[in-house]
């Protein structure tokens, strides 16, 4: 991987609300030049608060946010939002209802060429023909594109997107996602996208940050994070996962599907064995220990529910087609690539 230049760094960011609960509890995050990061977490995990803190719309109660050498938020510092060079796309777009699309894009621009630059930005979003339209005359997708164009127009150091696709239907969502990533890439922007949708996060991000309970629990490329989650919580944020509680023994950990490698863990350490449904391979076997209780198609693959003698149920994803049907007895193999052992 090429050398990454850190543009923005968040260290131990804390934000407490009135009732004492923490929205941010020591969050760390780095944004790298020209790369798109996705911040993924369930609602209430603090991801929107972190985004707003970076924009300067929320103050920090502790920790700091720096852009390069400049301190944006710190113990006694709070740079006003307008003095930070951030562009932000809001969840409901926050287009100014009294201004045309063009005037919205030109809002953050100053000087003689403001109008022309705004028009160029609007044309890049293929909305030149809608320059005179007011926000309520635009479709949802067009509103999103105007909001993005408006945020990009002043050439901000970083661009923040808060659930930018949440208000759109599925087909439009996919199209706009591609278009947005494309636009950000062409602008060479350093971007942070907040989302609660794992597929969306993995589709847009060069770097993924997982958030839970007000802190960032894991960062890495989407592939790294998906393949090697640091905890059961992290694994679950990105999709279906089965957790087996076990104890490390001689560098191995036992599962109902056989022992797996647990390197570098002392004997007796409680561990979680995280098994993706893709790890479970099924073979028809009269004497197999598992029974198929349900079989359905998910289009690209098959989803099986299997249970063992203890009546515990497991999910398995296997390539389609398969001769295995409901009621069949099967034996199970594990693909170690989709299995991770973490300390409990």
């Amino acid at each position: 991987m090429t050398e990454q230049r850190t543009v923005l760094s968040v260290r131990q960011a804390e934000r407490r609300y009135v009732k004492g609960q923490a929205a941010l509890a020591g969050a760390d995050l780095d944004l790298h030049a020209g790369r798109i990061a996705a911040l993924l977490g369930p609602s209430g995990s603090g991801k929107s608060t972190l985004l707003r803190a970076i924009a300067g719309l929320e103050r920090l109660d502790g920790g700091e946010i720096r852009l390069g050498g400049a301190l944006w938020s710190g113990p006694k510092t709070h740079l006003a939002p307008e003095a930070r060079r951030v562009g932000m796309v809001f969840q409901d777009y926050a287009l100014f209802p009294h201004l045309t699309a063009l005037a919205n894009v030109a809002f953050g621009l100053k000087g003689a060429g403001a109008r022309d630059r705004a028009m160029a930005q609007l044309e890049a979003a293929e909305l030149g023909h809608k320059a005179g339209a007011y926000p309520h005359e635009l479709s949802g997708g067009e509103q999103q594109r105007v909001a993005l164009a408006r945020a990009l127009a002043p050439e901000p150091a970083i661009i923040l997107l808060d659930e930018p696709f949440s208000g759109l239907d599925r087909r439009l969502r996919h199209e706009l996602r591609e278009r947005t990533v494309d636009t950000l890439r062409r602008a060479g922007a350093t971007a942070l996208i907040v989302t609660h949708d794992a597929d969306e996060a993995m589709a847009v991000a060069d770097e993924l940050a997982l958030m839970e309970g007000g802190s960032v629990i894991q960062t890495g490329t989407p592939e790294e994070v998906w393949m090697r989650p640091v905890s059961a919580v992290a694994a679950r944020l990105l999709g279906d996962v089965e957790t087996v509680e076990a104890k490390a023994q001689a560098g191995r950990a036992d599962t109902p599907f056989g022992a797996v490698d647990a390197p570098g863990l002392d004997d007796g350490t409680p561990v979680h064995v995280l098994v993706r449904p893709q790890a479970i391979g099924l073979t028809l076997d009269e004497s197999g220990a598992f029974t198929v209780t349900r079989r359905r198609s998910a289009g690209t693959h098959l989803v099986f529910d299997i249970s063992d003698s203890t009546q515990r149920h497991w999910h398995a994803h296997t390539p389609s087609p398969s001769p295995i049907g409901e009621g069949d007895s099967v034996s199970v193999t594990l693909d170690p690539a989709y299995v991770t052992v973490v300390e409990a």
Binding site: L57, A80, P81, E82, F90, A94, F96, F107, G108, P135
Partner: protein, 541 residues
Amino acid sequence: MATGRQTGVLPDRATSLAILAALVCAAPVFAVTWIALTGETGDYLLHLARTRLPVYLIHSAYVAAVAAGGAALIGTGLGWLVARTDFPGRAVMSWVLILPLAVPAYVAAYAWFDLSQAGGPLQAATAGLFPTIRGSWGAGLMFALVLYPYVYLLARDAFTGQSADAYHAARTLGAGPFEAFRRTALPMARPALAAGLALVVMESLADYGTVSHLGAPTLSIGLIRAWSGAGSLVDAARLSLILVAIALIVFSLERAQRRRARTHAASGRHKPAPRFRLAGLQALLAALACLTPLMLGLVIPLGRLAWLALNELPATGLAAAAWHSLTLAAISALCAAVLGLGTAYALRSRGILAIASARAAGLGYAVPGAVAAVGVIAILSGLQSLIDPVWRALTGQVFPILLTGGAAALIFAYLSRFAAAAIGPSEAALSRVTPALDGAARTLGATRGETVRRVHWPLIAGGVTSAGLLVFVEVLKELPATMILRPFNYDTLAIIAHNYASDERLGEAALPSLLIPLVALLPMIFVARYLSRTRSSTGTG
């Protein structure tokens, strides 16, 4: 979201304005209450309670009931027609129907009484069959004709905002069009109707000019008599308290309606229902239905007064009175707009102090003008008795009498009654400025001041201007508070009109009577158009 506090602009200055608004609005009521509870019990009130009080109460109820019934019928019907049907002229009618609010009820009463009295043109034309407009039913009718726009406006917006789904569901469940309307649309609009009716009832209870001209002995009449006849502040305060109590009951009934209604409004207002297109005879009937109240409440009364005014020399002192009316109304409007906007900003911060202040200021609308005036007098005389001894000790002279506190005292009373009316429109306008808009402006490089100037003001200017203009019109129309508080020889248009009318010199009363609605009409047109435009421009958002 818990972010309003961070992104809101000027919360502290705004909260202090909200507190000021609350003080201005609530102080007279508290003063009235204090005087009424601590003053000595005189014979007058006991005598009154035995004799006139039941009459006052019955007639107040009678007038209010006729006014509310009439306004409900006209306002709901027209609101539904404009919201749910389409006919030629509908778009214009949508705002023109609001204009009778520019006509004071007493002005309509002067004209209609003159038209329908014995020997008048209507009796002559109908061979004496047309009844003379007088008494409590006549007064109630006048209120219905000029106050129905309150109901109409709220009903229209409620019907417009209603989703088609409930109505269609009722139709699929076997209800005919009218039954579906009665069982879905009407109950869903009920809180809005209740709010409009509450305003109609309060205004008709607060009125003095109409009921005194048509001979309907309501509580206001008793109050003014107690003050100007018997000259007793304590008795006036006690009658005021009864009036305030009734107003508060009306107010809280309306609140109760609204609270229950929140569940109605929350369920899907996404898809507005299509309008029934009326054609031919139906369209003609719809247009007639709209024109009738306009003729009765606006055109005929003003036409009659214009005709009377043309046949009479202008009353003396009219120019000075007009100037007084205009300046009082303008200054009150400006102050009310500032207080209203400040309170709206304070509410945006969601601070407890701000909310409490806004609530207290909102009570002002339940305070009839005469009561506000009695309250202001109570405050001024309290101040007088505090300052007098100190002043005398310091200067050896008598302190100038505050009671004739002049125009300032009048504006105080007007504001305590009408500042509340300015909060609502400002709050509604400011609610379009979401915290995300502030955030967007700030991240695009705008400072706080710039955000207010470039984003807030363009979005709220119409609402704030409307709020100010509404107060302007109300102050222009106001009579009882002005009667009680005006400095000696200080006339307004309303006072001149009332004085001539009560001397049965309607010819001389005509021009000042006519000038009030004529001056009020232009601001009213702005308000009406604003109130009819905002919904369509924000409706799709």
